[in-house]
């Protein structure tokens, strides 16, 4: 029938990125392209904002203009509401990248008589699609139509037609719906029409701390994460912070950053990676804060900016306490390099806390951030909540390339951060050991990603010039610290002294022996020489004797006048 070969059915589902990083991670790339997604949730859960971010991202980053049909607010109000998030809807409309259509339908002013249809909606959408080439559509929220019109059957049938029409136009749509009071997905059963992808938003308060949650309930034809994820509405718009994928998308620096404690740097093969996150856990009074203060001090000394967030102390208290161990952070506050914020999340809610934290990071742009006492973020948080809270902060900091150190109280090793620690690149444990009637501190490097870190335990000593790490003694009775270590050191010192003396003694003895032997050699030499002289003298005497004897014989012969030879007849 047709001469052109039909394009084969798309084997893989194309996706339209929302520009909300976490959400695109959870859904493996975005919303189903060319289909409709239902975003449902209670009032004020962020449905409209999600839709707008989807449109703005499409228009600005993917060349996909969009249409917003708002049934709840005027175009001016929508634009004003999101202006604080940096969305300039007026500019987008001027640039032909966005069309906003607002309907205010009041049930009170409409009288129905007989059949009707929502033809004007598809006409308007069709007009916008033709005019600006719209590829994305947000209907927020069509459920208002159920309230405005009494003929439910007609509204349902008409919406079914509208969604079918949208699907036929190949536009990617977000349809928002209000969650039903009786726990149903939407008040008017919208999920029957829009069933390719369903995202649920929620806003819950736990222990006075409000948290926003997002869940991909359904995604036909695609794998997706099914957990509920916390999200945040900040100056960056909609930020979803998936726990499981939190560390996947950050650029990794190989630059090392000093912790400010030289021996700790050596244990970590040079320090913390820039942009990484470290957790310091430990029992009360183990020096966690001091370790954080060192990191800040080192950063400021390099001329870098830093932020210190305190959950348990006031800035004045912290400065005074750090001065007592020789760390003057006050000077960095004065030069403006260091900002200290005493956060009270339990007072104003975790959501607000995270928003302020994000704003603080964006304003001050620190290289290093220390969060001191993150266990105080909430009263008795459950493990899952704790993990998600920390994950959201880690995400905030990592996304901004900030090297962070968080300290947390832990009464036991196991409870210190199971779950939380997996979000961290480096985990240092500070532990008190009690022996010989005293408590001493030990530092362990439990993990440090991408680092050949030391497996050694170090004693952690707080001096009047900060932290010092000292080797511990590992003996048959275990690790020795504090005075036991000092005694051991003294004992070893004296043993060393004794040994040295012994050696000196031995050397002296040997030297004496040598001198003696040398003296003997000299004596023997002299003796030898004397005897040689004697020998020579004796030989001379012998010669002289022989000569004398010959002379005497000759004289006697001449006296007898004997014939010289054979004259023995007459004698």
């Amino acid at each position: 029938m047709t001469s052109l070969p039909e394009a084969p059915a798309a084997p893989r589902l194309l996706k339209a990125p929302t520009g909300i990083q976490g959400l695109d991670q959870i859904t493996g790339g975005g919303l189903p392209q060319g289909r409709s997604t239902l975003v449902t949730g209670g009032t004020g859960t962020g449905k409209t904002l999600l839709g707008l971010q989807f449109l703005v991202t499409g228009a600005r980053e993917y060349g996909q203009p969009g249409v917003l049909v708002s049934f709840e607010e005027s175009a001016e109000k929508v634009a004003a509401d999101v202006a604080s998030l940096g969305f300039d809807l007026d500019a987008l409309q001027r640039d032909g990248l966005l069309v906003i259509v607002a309907f205010q339908v009041e049930a009170a002013e409409i009288v129905e008589t007989g059949e009707f249809d929502f033809g004007p909606l598809s006409l308007l959408l069709d007009d916008a699609i033709k005019r600006i080439g719209a590829k994305r559509v947000v209907l927020d929220s069509v459920e208002v139509l159920f309230g405005a019109f009494k003929a439910r059957a007609i509204v349902r049938a008409e919406l079914g037609t509208l969604f079918g029409w949208l699907a036929g136009r190949g536009v990617t749509a977000i349809v928002t719906g209000e969650r039903g009071a009786d726990g149903t997905m939407t008040r008017h059963g919208m999920e029957e029409y829009v069933s390719d992808c369903v995202i649920a938003l929620d806003h819950r308060v736990h222990d006075g701390v409000a948290t926003r949650w997002l869940q991909v309930v359904k995604y036909r034809g695609s794998t997706h994460e099914t957990n509920e994820y916390p999200f945040l509405i900040s100056v960056h718009g909609f930020e979803v912070l998936p726990v499981t994928a939190v560390s996947l998308d950050y650029s990794a620096s190989s630059e090392r950053l000093s912790t400010g404690v030289p021996r700790l740097d050596r244990m970590l093969s040079g320090g913390l990676y820039r942009g990484s996150t470290a957790l310091v856990s430990g029992t009360p009074g183990t020096g966690k804060t001091t370790l954080g203060a060192h990191l800040i001090d080192a950063a400021c000394a390099r001329g870098e900016r830093a932020v210190l967030v305190l959950f348990e102390e006031s800035p004045d208290e912290a400065l005074r306490n750090m001065r007592s161990v020789g760390l003057d952070l006050g000077r960095w506050v004065e030069t403006g390099l260091l900002r200290i914020w005493a956060a009270r999340p339990s007072a104003f809610g975790l959501e607000t806390y995270l928003t302020i934290l994000a704003r603080l990071m964006d304003e001050h742009r620190p290289a290093v951030a220390v969060l001191d006492g993150i266990n105080s973020l909430a009263e008795q948080p459950t493990r899952a909540e704790m993990v998600s809270m920390v994950a959201r902060q880690v995400h905030l900091l990592k996304a901004r390339g900030i090297t962070a150190l968080a300290t947390t109280l832990a009464l036991e090793v196991e409870s210190s951060g199971a779950g939380v620690s997996s979000l961290m690149d480096t985990w240092l444990l500070l532990r008190n050991v009690e022996s010989n009637g005293e408590r001493n501190r030990l530092l362990f490097v439990l993990k440090s990603r991408g680092t050949a870190h030391s497996n050694q335990v170090r004693e952690f000593v707080l001096t009047d010039h900060g932290v010092e790490l000292v080797d511990v003694y590992v003996g048959p009775g275990g690790v020795m610290t504090g005075s036991a270590r000092v005694m051991q050191q003294a004992r070893e010192h004296s043993e060393r002294l004794e040994h040295q003396e012994e050696l000196i003694r031995h050397k002296r003895e040997l030297r004496g022996n040598i001198a003696q032997k040398q003296a003997q050699i000299v004596m023997l030499q002299e003796e030898l020489e004397a005897q040689q002289a004697e020998l020579e003298r004796t030989a001379g005497y012998e010669e002289r004797l022989a000569a004398d004897a010959q002379a005497a014989r000759a004289a006697l012969a001449s006296q007898r006048q004997a014939d010289p030879a054979g004259s023995n007849d007459g004698a």
């Binding site: 009707f116 249809d117 004007p120």
Partner: protein, 128 residues
Amino acid sequence: MTERSDHPAEKPGGSADEARPAVPAGERWELRLYVIGHSPASVRAIANLERVCVHWLPGRYHIEVVDLLQNPRLAAEDQIVAVPTVVRKHPQPTRKIVGDLTDTERLLIGMQLRSEPARRTGQADWRE
């Protein structure tokens, strides 16, 4: 369909006296009817509106039919979500009646040519 044919036959004679005083004499009615193309519903709505006006507002009405196909953006400007829709521009206040106008009773109430059924007996009499 049966409803539509029944009402006009019954209504004019019986209920005329009650409702007429709600329409101030001499005032000209400006009505705008929004439709899309020549769908059956559009055609029905135009016919129904004409019939009611001829009977209730003889010589004192003007109907403007707006086809949104010609200018879709008018739907946004005039806040028309559904068609057919009749807007009473004058007299004020503005009234909107949505549907093919087959239910004449509802149309009369919507245009305030007749008060709500529940209040009709008591209040209409008392006001006069």
